[in-house]
Assembly symmetry: C3
Homo-oligomer: 153 residues x 3
């Protein structure tokens, strides 16, 4: 029997978590690719060696659209990375599939909307609301993990 079956059978919530979390990692990779495309289109590079390759040192400069992409990516790092940890641990607390989806789906949808709102410059407070919707299940999972950890100390 391959380790695959074993690991994925350990928790009924794990496949749902791996689906949502990996989709969000791919989403982050897409933001990185978009940042690179915006740098090329706006001719705004962070490093002299990149600017030299694309027309000259004058293109080593900042650009509001590039900085927007960087802020979106940074916010992902502040929120999606903790989710990768909390969600994985939460799966092994034995949640019901409904409870698991009730945590993972708002996070997935909230973070997708957050990126759309950030890169698309949607009117405030769309982005902040998406951020909050995604943070609520994270706070819930964190508290449940704390509770279980304290019980087993």
């Amino acid at each position: 029997m391959p380790p695959s079956g074993l690991a994925l059978a350990d928790s009924r919530a794990l496949p749902a978590f791996l689906l949502c979390s990996t989709l969000l990692v791919i989403k982050m990779y897409v933001v990185a690719v978009i940042t690179g495309q915006v740098r090329l289109r706006k001719k705004a590079f962070a490093n002299p060696e990149d600017a030299l390759r694309h027309g000259g040192l004058q293109f080593c400069r900042s650009n509001p659209d590039v900085e927007r992409c960087l802020r979106a990516h940074r916010n992902d790092m502040e929120t999606i990375y903790p989710f990768l940890f909390l969600g994985l641990v939460y799966c092994f607390l034995g949640p019901s599939p409904a409870a698991a989806w009730g945590h993972f789906l708002p996070f997935l949808l909230g973070r997708l909307l957050h990126t759309v709102a950030y890169l698309g410059q949607l009117r405030a407070p769309v982005r902040s609301l998406a951020y909050t919707v995604a943070q609520l299940p994270c706070a819930s999972m964190a508290l449940q993990i704390l509770w279980e950890a304290a019980r087993h100390l």
Copy 2:
């Protein structure tokens, strides 16, 4: 038997790790909330759409207190995220409870002090010392993981 019991029983160090790591993730969430509060109080927003909602485009500007919060948060990402990984793996190397706490507690206290020193602008080198105290157990865990991994190659 729920997966919960199974997973938490796999390692006697795991509850201690989950307690410290989850507290630090929550601490990072608190820094994010503080950043938002400082942005509102100082009226300094990173995005035009946020500034428009809070009084006008002139409030799309940087602010030293906001940047301080961002640096504190970034330093957390540079140190706490690797700890989430190293600490979890380390738990499965079978450390004694005393050794485990000897790694997790200095990290927890060091990172709490780091945030207090950063946001409270404590005199140098308090923040740097807190950083170093927290990095030592991480270096120790990293070396032990390398050693175990090399032995099993």
Copy 3:
């Protein structure tokens, strides 16, 4: 039997992954230490309290070499942290040792070259190529995880 043997025996790919991932975490710590050294050498500090300790408030200033280190470190956070997650999950999909090394080694070498190219200011597009080489196995692992997760939903 210690948990160590158990956990490391769960997957034949795990020791290879732990070796590569932990080496890269240590590499990130080295970038942080280099950043601190460059700050001291260039007398360019991010915080007034640090500048005061090292000669005066005039040294609370930015510096291109420091910013280069910060960009290298940030790019590590954008790429190595997802690898810690994807690689760990991938190990439990039961890859052959050859397939596992075929993913981990390009990532390890790509990210080492990326740092050398960034800090050493190597001519473009060395750094971008190293980045791309490292991202390919991550994309491959992400797709394999998605596939397995979807099959077990």
